[in-house]
Structures are given as structure tokens and as C-alpha cells.
């Protein structure tokens, strides 16, 4: 059966606008299995004569001769307007590190017998869910791959957990409900909003977003569609996006990469456009934008980024006052990560650092802030000025600073005892 793209406007739009036709049809598989669609079929579409329990798997490859496989998309046989069910497509070629685009939520997915390096994508059927349900679906797929949740859920299952019925009937969810669903999957979650104390500024909200995305965690944010350039509409509406990466320019993160479940995968937006769009729509222009974001973190993690960051900054300023280090936070650029303690690998021949690290014994999850010179050459490892590590589970007293130039570690492993260790020093010293 030939595949007429004109009959599939949603897929066509993705090929036109996300991929600019750099991927083309490779093959088709009719009667393919799709676990999300099967649930939707069982709960509603089996009543329709034109429907069947299977999807059409459309496989793509890059256009050039002997072009690599680009993944696949599942087309629902019947739809209320959003035809793409489970979709595993590689990012477009221009979204790569060489162009200063970093899609942090990429993983190699083994899906339905195909191996694709991508961030999974889906469009919601409005009977069972809206954009927020699809956002949760995307997050759960990413977290499942990293063993952070027991299993991912179909969109009707997400709706059922949220409201006790699998039918959404065009009703969305609150961020709080979305947070609960992530917690029900045995992840923990941080729901950050800028309106209450501590009131977070625009830059702080961007920094929060950046910290989790840099940690390879997908972040759901709420935006007004009227301010999204790719929607091309004046109509206001509250919409969710999943943040999956960021873009950079001259050593600064200047934008983010998103999956928009209603329109397009892999879209980018610069910080100024994002700040304009990132608010709850109101009829009057708000004097202060209300900005919401939600991120799932490993269940043991209790320390949000801003708490880790604020203590880092305060302690660093005390170090400066007391002459412990000459590093100034305003002269540094910081790369934050939320990491497994065992994943934290520091390549060094510095014996004092090695001794200190051995004593510190990093716990299961840590916030690690790597400090770089603000004018650093990105390719030059010498621009690494030091790092800070704090136990993200807050179960231990571990706080660990290291400054490269001074070859000095300052750390706490038990309450009330802060040690310093210099290169060449035989013994650590309590300070």
C-alpha cells in the first residue's frame, strides 16, 4: 500500500519543519504493535468500525545516498487529530554539539526491535490526555531508560492515575497532579514556581532549568502558546513543553531544546523568547510572570538545585573573606550536575586531592558544580578551576571544595569538622 504523506498532515509538518526534509521514508510496516495505541484502542477506538488494534510503523532514513536510519514514527489508524503515537526519531542533524546544541536527554532506545538514539516523542489523543499527559509520557520513557521509575505508562494510564478515569475529555492537569504521577512511578520530583519565597528571578529560573537539563533530566514547563513562535497564533492557552537540552553561544547557555507534544519535536527557543512565553496566560498583562517547572529526580534526592547552589555561593564568599581562596564566584562559570556519587570521576594525579576524595566517600547522589574560568577556552581542560560537591540526599554532612590553582581541598565529612589539605601537606588540618 503506498504511503501518501499528504494524508498525514501531522507527520508531514514534522518532516517539513523539524527536519526540513533531510529524512525520507525508508519502509513501512502495517499492523505494527504500539503499547500506547493498544490501550487507547481497548478503551475507546474498538467501538469504531474503521479502527484496528495496530498502527503503521513509518521508518525513516537520512536523505543522502546510503543515509543512516533515522528511527520511526507510529501512525494511529484513527485519531481525533494527533496522529503520532509512539515516535522514536533521531534529532535533526543541525542540532548537534558542533553547532553548540546539546540534547542532554538523548539515549539509545531499543523500541519495538529498532535501536534509535533519540528522545521519545508522542502526541496525545484528547480523549485520553492533553499536552501535559504527553509530557509526562516523554519524561517517564526517559526515566525508565535510566531505571529511575519502575515502568513507563501509557497516556490513558497516566490520566487514570491523575483522575481515576482513563478519559480526559480535553481536560488538562495541574502541575501538582503531574508531580504526583511522577512520585507514583517511584521517582521523586521538584515542583519549582517563582511566586513564593524564595522569589526566583528570571535568571534564577533559567539557571534552575539549566541545572536539571544539564543533569540529563527532562523538565516540564508551562508556557503560553501565543508566545511560542512555531505556533503562529494569537490565541492564548496554557501549554506544557518538555525541556530536553540547551543551546550555547560564546560559553553561555543562550537557549533550550524542547519537545512540543502538540506540534513538533526538537524545537529550540532562545532565552528571551522563552522568558516571554514561560508564564500562565492571563487576560491582562501580568506585572510579574508566574513560572512553573517540574522535574523528576531519583527518589533519594531531597536537595533542590537552588539550595545546593546557595550554600555553595555563601561558603565561597566566606572563603574569600577569610582568605581561604582567591576564587571569586563572579569570575567563574559553573557547570552543575546532579549525579550518582559513583559516576563522579575526577582524573587527577594530585595526591592531596586523591587522599581527600578517598576520605570523602561520595554518597549515592551528589550535586557537583564544576567551576571554570569565565573566559575559558572550551577545549582547554586547564580552564577548570575547581569543583564543589554536596550530598544531594542530605543524609551525610559531605561538602567538598577543591581549587585547582591552589591545589587545595576543603571538605567536611562529619558534622563540626572541616578539613583542609594542601598539595604536599602530610596531614590534613582542621579549620
Amino acid at each position: 500500500m503506498p504511503f501518501d504523506l499528504d494524508l498525514h498532515p501531522y507527520l508531514k509538518r514534522v518532516l517539513d519543519r523539524t527536519y526540513n526534509h533531510e529524512i525520507i521514508l525508508k519502509s513501512l510496516l502495517h499492523g505494527a504493535y504500539d503499547s500506547n495505541w493498544l490501550k487507547e484502542y481497548e478503551l475507546f477506538y474498538n467501538k469504531q468500525t474503521k479502527s484496528n488494534p495496530y498502527v503503521t510503523r513509518v521508518l525513516f532514513k537520512f536523505k543522502e545516498k546510503r543515509g543512516k536510519s533515522a528511527g520511526f514514527s507510529h501512525i494511529r489508524p484513527v485519531t481525533d487529530g494527533s496522529e503520532l503515537s509512539e515516535t522514536y526519531l533521531v534529532p535533526p542533524k543541525n542540532l548537534c554539539a558542533a553547532n553548540d546544541v546539546y540534547i542532554k536527554c538523548l539515549d539509545e532506545f531499543d523500541a519495538y526491535g529498532e535501536r534509535v538514539e533519540c528522545t521519545p516523542y508522542i502526541m496525545p489523543e484528547t480523549i485520553f490526555g492533553m499536552c501535559i499527559h504527553a509530557s509526562i509520557w516523554i519524561c517517564l520513557k526517559i526515566l525508565e531508560k535510566r531505571a529511575m521509575v519502575e515502568r513507563s505508562l501509557s497516556i490513558p494510564e497516566i490520566q487514570n492515575l491523575a483522575r481515576g478515569s482513563p478519559y480526559a475529555d480535553r481536560e488538562g492537569l495541574l502541575f501538582k497532579q503531574a508531580a504526583r504521577i511522577l512520585r507514583m512511578g517511584r521517582a521523586s520530583s521538584f515542583y519549582v514556581i517563582n511566586v513564593e519565597s524564595p522569589r526566583l528571578t528570571d535568571m534564577q529560573m533559567l539557571m534552575e532549568l539549566y541545572a536539571y537539563v544539564e543533569s540529563r533530566l527532562p523538565v516540564i514547563i508551562g508556557v503560553d502558546i501565543a508566545d511560542l513562535p512555531w505556533w503562529r497564533t494569537d490565541k492564548h492557552g496554557y501549554h506544557s513543553l518538555v525541556t530536553i537540552g540547551h543551546t550555547m553561544e560564546e560559553n553561555r547557555t543562550n537557549g533550550f531544546v524542547f519537545h512540543d507534544e502538540s506540534l513538533l519535536p526538537y524545537v529550540t527557543m532562545k532565552n528571551d523568547k522563552l522568558l516571554k512565553a514561560w508564564h500562565i496566560p492571563t487576560t491582562q498583562p501580568p506585572s510579574r510572570y508566574v513560572r512553573e517547572m517540574l522535574v523528576a529526580v531519583p527518589p533519594e534526592v531531597v536537595l533542590p538545585f537552588h539550595s545546593a547552589y546557595q550554600q555553595f555561593e555563601k561558603i565561597l564568599s566566606v572563603f574569600q573573606e577569610k582568605g581561604v581562596t582567591s576564587e571569586k564566584v563572579e569570575n567563574l562559570v559553573i557547570r552543575p550536575f546532579l549525579k550518582g556519587g559513583s559516576e563522579l570521576f575526577i582524573e587527577t594525579r594530585n595526591l592531596s586531592l586523591l587522599r581527600a576524595l578517598k576520605e570523602a566517600q561520595f554518597p549515592s547522589h551528589v550535586w557537583a558544580f564544576f567551576l571554570y574560568d569565565q573566559n575559558a577556552d572550551r577545549k582547554d581542560e586547564k580552564s577548570l578551576r575547581g569543583f564543589f560537591v554536596r550530598d544531594a540526599t542530605a543524609r551525610t554532612d559531605l561538602r567538598f571544595f577543591f581549587f585547582m590553582d591552589e591545589k587545595k581541598a576543603i571538605y567536611q565529612v562529619e558534622e563540626g569538622k572541616v578539613y583542609t589539605l594542601h598539595e604536599g601537606a602530610k596531614k590534613r588540618k582542621i579549620i
Binding site: 546539546y102 492533553m130 499536552c131 501535559i132 509530557s135 488538562g172 502541575f175 501538582k176 508531580a179 521538584f190 514556581i193 511566586v195 513564593e196 526566583l200 535568571m203 533559567l206 539557571m207 508551562g222 492557552g237 496554557y238 501549554h239 550555547m248 560559553n251 553561555r252 547557555t253 543562550n254 500562565i280 512553573e292 531531597v302 539550595s307 547552589y309 546557595q310 550554600q311 555561593e313 555563601k314 561558603i315 564568599s317 566566606v318 577569610k322 581561604v324 564566584v329 562559570v333 559553573i334 557547570r335 570521576f345 575526577i346 582524573e347 587527577t348 571554570y372 569565565q374 581542560e381 580552564s383 577548570l384 576543603i410 567536611q412 558534622e415 563540626g416 569538622k417 572541616v418 579549620i431
Partner: protein, 71 residues
């Protein structure tokens, strides 16, 4: 994460760095000038406990997320 030659990547913050919150600042400022670092770390630990608790409470009570996400 690695500081090895091949793996090193620098990703900078997006703009001005957030300032330490007032509660933490006040706690540290209250300490005597000659306080040692152990006392500063202890004060930070106390602040962190309160900060986590406060964040969790606010997560439960925030009123602004009334609008459902629905587009």
C-alpha cells in the same frame, strides 16, 4: 563526569548567578567575625534542613498552579 582531555566540556550558566537567600546570609552574618569554618559549615547545615522542609511545604501549598495545562 570527567576532567579528562576528551570528555571535558564547558557549559556555562545562563546569566547572573543567583544570590544566596536572605535567611542563609543572615545566619552566616550573625556568626562572630573570628568564627572558624566548622561553625560556618554547621550554620549552613542547619539552614539546609530548614530550606528543604520549607521547599517541600511550599510545594504542597502553592496556590498559583490553579490553571490546568490543556493545549
Amino acid at each position: 563526569m570527567s576532567a579528562g582531555k576528551k570528555q571535558l566540556q564547558i557549559v556555562a550558566p545562563v546569566g547572573d548567578v543567583p544570590r544566596a537567600d536572605d535567611d542563609l546570609r543572615k545566619r552566616v552574618e550573625k556568626l562572630p567575625k573570628d568564627a572558624n569554618l566548622s561553625q560556618v559549615f554547621e550554620e549552613v547545615s542547619q539552614w539546609e534542613k530548614v530550606s528543604i522542609k520549607k521547599f517541600r511545604e511550599q510545594e504542597q501549598t502553592k496556590k498559583s498552579g490553579k490553571l490546568t495545562v490543556r493545549c
